[in-house]
Symmetry: D2
Subunit: 376 residues, 4 copies
């Protein structure tokens, strides 16, 4: 495969997520960063570009300019990575899709269901590939669970217990830094904080692992830290099509939890327990109660998942490698498409991103009405 | 302290819980079993009595007879232990209270709020002591958490996540045995299965550890195993007085869980994580995120809790010892009261039992009405 | 079975182990304490006797008197429990054996190989039953491992890694109390501290679980806390008959460990990992690396071991229940023997106790000679 | 900092370690691979070069040629990465040092003490930088422990228990593949297998974390799998200067262990427990027994270590990131040296590599003489 090129919107000085996307793409070295609009401040943009060894001609003052210019170049970028705050995901993605450029966008996809539907439509019309970077679904073990359940090995799923607690916003007037500020600011985050950031991960993880479709939700969203304007603790009851039920809990005030996404899935023939902070292992319980622990790199992991591993068992892979797995799938598809070859999508797409937005909006509606069931 | 005597109603052949109460009382040897009505079948009753070395004259054919006869004896029992199926808790407890005999009753206290209120009233009128054996609250670590939070060390509690999953009733037409049968039979269990058995433990554990009072609940109760008549998986949202919120999950279909009561408490100044299956330890997280693990028998456990330990740290104490701790408190009080001495109640009482019944009924009502908020 | 009676030597005020033996016997209520020589101080002896409800006539001033008097009574004790400091195990056991009374003695059995051999001989001549209370081998999971390996399910054992670290004697001039004092006093403990107390447990656990016979040992015994006279940290290399090898580590200066006996056994067909502080579970790894966790009370535990469980899975059993299991076996045998019925010994005997003494002495010899191999 | 360039010797088709070095350098993108001698087969070498986008002119047929040619180029590589089987580490490193090129070599450094001393001398004479890639010491938590102990926070170290069990070579005639073959072949691995591969990691981890110097060792090296020519299970007793003692265990036949390097350090003021498979956390126990768990990315980690983290807490970093940290230090130093700026070495050097070789040879000698103490 010939190495591809990509550009980035966002990811300027102090951006955790932009740097993380770059590092994770670097691991496998399948694409090179050659263009960017890293910041709304031109100077900062050029500075980041210089640090990253980007040709100054390809450091753009605006994403609109970048989309047009790159689309016009014969050696224009193969895809763009969108890592701006949530509020600008939509216009940026739209601009690049309209310019005919494949898109990778951080989650949540956008702020409204209408925006999400527009992006789905546009990507389809333009026949472009669109990755939404639900990082945790890149884990080998997450991919394993998806295949294992799809093959019917747990039987009918009965209940799911999923949660994503963090503790970094538990403090009045402390912590959080730049990250915390924009997340808790309704203007930048789109009127939802915790559920938009963490709840979409939970929704996607459960949906992706189990294949369950949400029928309706009932949500209770709280602002537990005095003075907070947006939700920082959310509890959601879920009813899936087919009768399974679930509980989702997300929190940013759960002191002691770092980034503790956990999914527990109970079927008629067994259960699966998974924690992203210990993502090198998966606990699988069979119908007779036998508790089996499997490790990435060892036997017992589905082949299509195990193939993403880079290191032997016990040589731990983590967050960057998971994100790298998403990009490995996505870049492989972009390259195949470019060369007119067939490809198989094995990553969360713009359609998955839309599901997340729908989930958030159904929860917001349920909460506003006093925690009633709202159909998705 | 002079050794007391007690009687038992229930606990005949094949009864797990009766044997467990006897063994836990035996540990400290503070009371001797001298009377009983162990079974509704006189022959089985006498047989159990003989095996336990009970005087045949004190093996009674009915609990009514036993209550009257023991009340009339100069050496009558100091207290009765009620370990019958839930449906008969009320009449048995009532009979002994009316006969002037102190009562220890397994949870849940009874089937209806009216019954519960009647028992509270009767115990008060008769000035009798009444233990409801919420076993897990006897753990040294559970007592530690209660004191720690009561002293304000977590600050204002913000959210509680509690659950009690088991897997033993996950199977259609299998498992469960005698236990499973009566629990799933509406006539014997009082129209509620999982939430009555496990939900009351969760309600009591959270209430006892945190001191939080439930303002209202919203429940979703499911029958996930085909053919089941009563609930086997329950999800409850809780709003406490003062603004804290919580999620409770109980299940009997969660394959892989044995008896997995867990309580996680998040306050403004830190968190506490506790699992009854690993009850020798408690995880305490301070405001700055420092995760501290404490073990029974080591430093850092509140004195009033540590005093209940019998063995050095690492010499594990378990379920029988927890139940034994409840009895140690209760028997100490019964003995003190008998001798006219002052005593301090440090065990769950009939009032706590009533709270459990109220909780169950509010959940049943919420569920019937399609998961709406119901005040307690 | 008719309830038996027993006496106790040692176990006076402040004795942890005497109280623990009594409590563990109480659980199943198969024997009643009716006689004792609880302390070398007659007054303390009578006081403990009174607290325990012992007839003053059967509170003896010396163990010699007790052995003779009880042997002479028609209703004399069925067995004696010896819980004195190590140094007096031998004379006490000897006196009761000579008087024709069955013996339960705490480990280590005695101080010298000669003493141990004399006790073995005497017990045989007198045809008496002799339990050495290696508590941890009473665990259901320990019994399970013994059977599992005896049935060849791990294949040939290749290596064993066993350890028993504690931290309570890590401090100069602090902690330890009465316990610490006699253990570190050469006169009372017999010239060895940590290896005698903890090493014998390790030796017995490995031997009992695996059936391996030690061929030779190589020991390094250290006094790591300044001022200590006896060993507080011991490292032993072991070569077993048949070519397997092992490492044992015992320590009383390992801050952070409570009572952390762990055994890991590696065979050609799989491995077993066991920790006494989490003795309700056992980790079993099969030849292909599948890691399986089993819990007491659930499927997958050998029947002969599971039969000792008293409570359902997840209702934790601990140290007292383990000790109780030893007594259950022992008392069952004593009762059967008394009634002339056949019995099967399923507990550590005086022969096992002798093995422990031999192990300690071989290690002492190895260490004195600069850590050379010493045959057992 | 200007991006550097590097070359690689070894790392051809099927080489795990070569690919892993490249990926870990990629993460931070501080150096670009521009030259290589990836295989002893010229065709395979060119093929790997082509896949990696290396100019064919810089794909060399022999390492000797590569060292000379690169030294002669004005844009020659800034450093070479040596990832060949152990037996050729020495000649390759020597060639590049003699050519004046900085070296990064995988561990173990070389086969004999003489070779190691020669490399130390040569690096010094040539004033070149030399990284030995003891990967696990790149972990943030490993760096934290080193600083924590260096600052005296554990007080005097008393004992160390370290181990590195794996299970991948537990099988006769199975598994292991190309990796297993050369490791078990005396000609390619230099007469030692498990202790050379794993024991050097243990030696380095303990030495680097604690600062302890080994005074003497006593080793027992076994071949537990029938038919094996070289050691596959090693037990080592260690005496450090100053009186501390330790036990090291390494094994390749411990079924169920993937790559389970663990170090436990016990000092007079507390303990530290660390497992590389869970390297995002460290357990620290203070003098009073308080068990504290710290996570990379959270408070309580020494600043000089925390600075190496790339992601927030709970966004797991693993093996590649650890190796990347070694390269980050090394490349920073190489760049500073190139620009004539001061630099501080914060990575394992050729001197550390020599210590590992000395350790292995002392163990071999001890084992040959029947497990006697051998001075280092």
């Amino acid at each position: 495969m010939k190495k591809l090129t990509y550009g980035m919107v966002g990811g300027g000085p102090g951006s955790f997520i932009g740097d993380a996307h770059r590092k994770s793409i670097n691991i496998d070295g399948m694409a090179t960063l050659v263009a960017g609009c890293f910041s709304r401040t031109p100077e900062k943009c050029r500075q980041t570009g210089a640090e990253l060894g980007i040709d100054p001609d390809r450091c753009y003052a605006s994403f609109e300019e970048m989309a047009k210019a790159e689309a016009a170049r014969p050696d224009g970028i193969d895809f763009v990575v969108v890592v701006t705050p949530n509020v600008s995901h939509y216009p940026v993605c739209k601009a690049f899709l309209e310019a005919g450029i494949n898109v990778s966008c951080d989650k949540p996809l956008c702020l409204t269901v209408e925006e999400g539907e527009a992006l789905v439509k546009l990507a389809k019309e333009k026949n472009l590939l669109f990755l939404v970077t639900y990082t945790y679904m890149g884990h080998v073990t997450a991919k394993h669970i998806r295949k294992f359940i799809a093959d019917g090995k747990l039987g009918k799923i009965r209940t799911v217990q999923a949660e994503y607690p963090q503790g970094w916003l538990a403090y009045e007037g402390e912590w959080g830094g730049k990250q915390g500020e924009w997340r808790c600011d309704p203007k930048q985050s789109g009127g939802v904080n915790c559920l938009g950031d963490l709840g979409t991960h939970v929704e996607n993880a459960v949906s992706r692992m189990t294949g369950l479709k949400i029928k309706r939700v009932l949500a209770r969203m709280d602002k537990l830290v005095p003075g907070r304007v947006l939700d920082d603790n959310d509890m959601v009851l879920v009813e899936y099509e087919g009768g399974a039920v679930g509980t989702y809990w997300t929190s940013q005030v759960a002191i002691g939890h770092d980034n503790d996404l956990r999914v527990r899935i109970y079927g008629e023939n067994g259960s699966i327990l998974w924690k992203q902070e210990e993502c090198e292992k998966v606990i699988m319980i069979s119908r007779d109660g036998t508790i089996v622990e499997r490790h990435r790199g060892n036997g017992g992991i589905e082949d299509c998942a195990a193939a993403y591993g880079r290191l032997p068992s016990g040589h731990t892979e983590g967050w960057l490698e998971s994100m790298g797995n998403l990009y490995k799938s996505f870049i492989t598809c972009v390259a195949a498409k470019k060369e007119g070859k067939p490809y198989e999508i094995d990553y969360p797409t713009v359609e998955d991103g839309l599901e997340g937005v729908k989930f958030v909006h159904a929860c917001l509606k349920s909460n506003e009405q006093g925690s009633v069931w709202v159909d998705l």
